[in-house]
């Protein structure tokens, strides 16, 4: 049996989608960034991965991983766009947890 703490709760994903919807395909610039080498257990497979804090054009801010990037993209002031991506590992029968990530704006 899957332990409760290992299961990704579908209701939590469903609630989160309502917020994420409004945050997609928005452009903004990187305020600060880091490259995470030692991660939490759900993210171990992806490490090292970059996380950026972004300020959108409307002044709102968000944090998320940067994907499809090259080293030069990791800079304060860099332009990015928000995209929908799988955000953490899940078990075969779990709902796939999609969420907010960013990719460099070309």
């Amino acid at each position: 049996m899957t332990k409760v703490e290992d299961m990704i709760s579908p209701v939590k994903i469903w609630r989160r989608q309502k917020e994420i919807r409004g945050l997609l395909s928005k452009t903004g610039s990187i305020i600060t960034w880091t490259l995470i080498y030692v991660s939490g257990k759900d993210f171990k497979k992806y490490a090292p991965f970059p996380v950026v804090m972004v300020e959108f054009e409307n002044g709102k801010k968000a944090v998320g991983q940067l994907v499809d990037y090259s080293k030069e993209d990791l800079k304060i002031g860099g332009k990015v766009i928000s995209v929908l991506r799988k955000v953490r590992e899940s078990k075969a029968e779990d709902v796939i947890p999609y969420g907010l990530k960013f990719r460099p704006l070309i």
């Binding site: 305020i31 880091t34 995470i36 998320g64 991983q65």
Partner: protein
């Protein structure tokens, strides 16, 4: 008048032979022995712990403490992430402002090393916002975001940060209760692997096991017959948005600033009167931000000032910082840290700090932060 009349701490470190209950028992018996008190003289207990509920399915600790000590007094558990200890102390202080002639035990304890780094990292991340967790941000990651911003804005390098760890490890070598008693060089910090760029292993505090306790009283007869006491001049808590992105500034912990300003006003102590301070150095960058936000250094000066090493024991500086080794070298058993900081100031102000004793220190400050700055506590003590 509210006084701290005693302190005890267990060893900090990887204490595989000790459970959370063992640590709590040791620290209670230790502090009662140090103060010569009987358990019947304790009117209430405040207990700080963050992770037992998450990591080991262990809650309702107050009742466990009642069993260990064999008492029926009110016991309160306090959780405010890494500021749990400081907040517990502040609440105990408030309790004594409300009730007269009481004596209180304030305990902080944490058991962290039974788990893998990923499990502990995930558990600690429970103190971050949901969005930060979803982004895979860890606590080193959150402070790395602040560090990267700070270094770029004020034109410093990772070497500036490395001096915090160099200093605090030297202090840790002087503290027999510290997790790490090894002196390290700036080069060693620079050569350690990254945890979250630009922070490296030796920029980060460890996860540790440990427990610390102080006794607080406003019972005059007890205070008067105790030789070594310090007065609580202020213990102030402030909060801020849990999400780093919602804060006004990335290079400032506003909660520290607010709690610090309130504590200085309440205590009527000037910053230059503080000769010894324990500040929350969970990561090297955090000590620089703390020194600036507490008003000891100007904003942006930290990178330069730390390289001068004027806050290192043995220098001719006016203020020694983190003589216990700080979180960096002393270790960071989350719930215990805030109490250990106050305990270190108690030792310094009562002349019990042995080989790291700061001379002529009449006033000291302890600064404890929860999460990435969502909670801050500043306590000022006077001899």
């Amino acid at each position: 008048m509210i006084s701290v009349i005693g302190y005890y701490t267990t060893q900090f470190g990887e204490l595989w032979d000790k459970s959370l209950s063992d640590l709590i028992k040791e620290v209670i018996l230790g502090v009662l022995r140090n103060t010569g008190l009987d358990k019947k003289q304790i009117d209430a207990i405040f207990f700080a712990n963050m992770l037992a509920g998450v990591l080991e399915n262990n809650l309702h600790t107050p009742s466990k403490i009642a069993e260990i000590l064999g008492v029926n007094v009110p016991i309160f558990r306090v959780e405010a992430a890494c500021a749990s200890g400081g907040v517990a102390f502040s609440l105990a202080n408030n309790y004594l402002e409300a009730y007269s002639d009481k004596t209180i035990l304030v305990i902080g304890a944490e058991k962290m090393t039974d788990y893998s780094p990923e499990e502990t990292t995930s558990a600690l991340a429970s103190a971050a916002s949901g969005e930060e967790q979803e982004a895979g941000l860890t606590f080193p990651g959150l402070y790395a975001l602040m560090a990267n911003y700070y270094l770029q804005k004020y034109k410093y390098t990772e070497e500036n940060l490395a001096h915090v760890s160099y200093k605090n490890h030297y202090h840790g070598s002087l503290n027999d209760k510290a997790h790490f008693r090894k002196i390290i060089s700036v080069e060693q910090v620079m050569q350690s692997p990254y945890v979250a760029y630009p922070l490296k292993v030796l920029d980060c505090c460890s996860t540790s096991d440990g427990a610390s306790a102080v006794v607080l009283t406003n019972l005059h007869s007890l205070k008067n017959k105790t030789k070594k006491t310090v007065e609580v001049l202020a213990s102030e808590v402030a909060t801020d948005s849990i999400s780093l992105k919602e804060r006004n500034r990335i290079d400032e912990i506003l909660a520290t600033k607010i709690a610090g300003d309130k504590a200085f006003v309440k205590s009527k102590i000037r910053r230059k009167d503080i000769k010894v301070a324990e500040v929350h150095d969970c990561f090297s960058i955090a000590e620089l931000l703390a020194m600036e936000d507490l008003g000891f250094w100007k904003k942006g000066e930290g990178g330069k000032r730390i390289k001068e090493l004027q806050t290192m024991y043995g220098s001719n500086g006016d203020l020694m910082v983190n003589t216990s080794g700080g979180l960096k070298a002393s270790g960071h058993p989350v719930g215990a840290t805030g109490i250990k900081q106050i305990g270190e100031i108690f030792l310094q102000l009562t002349g019990q700090a042995k080989n790291r004793q700061v001379k002529k220190a009449k006033f000291g400050l302890a600064h404890n932060v929860g999460g990435s700055g969502g909670t801050a506590v500043v306590t000022i003590l006077g001899a």
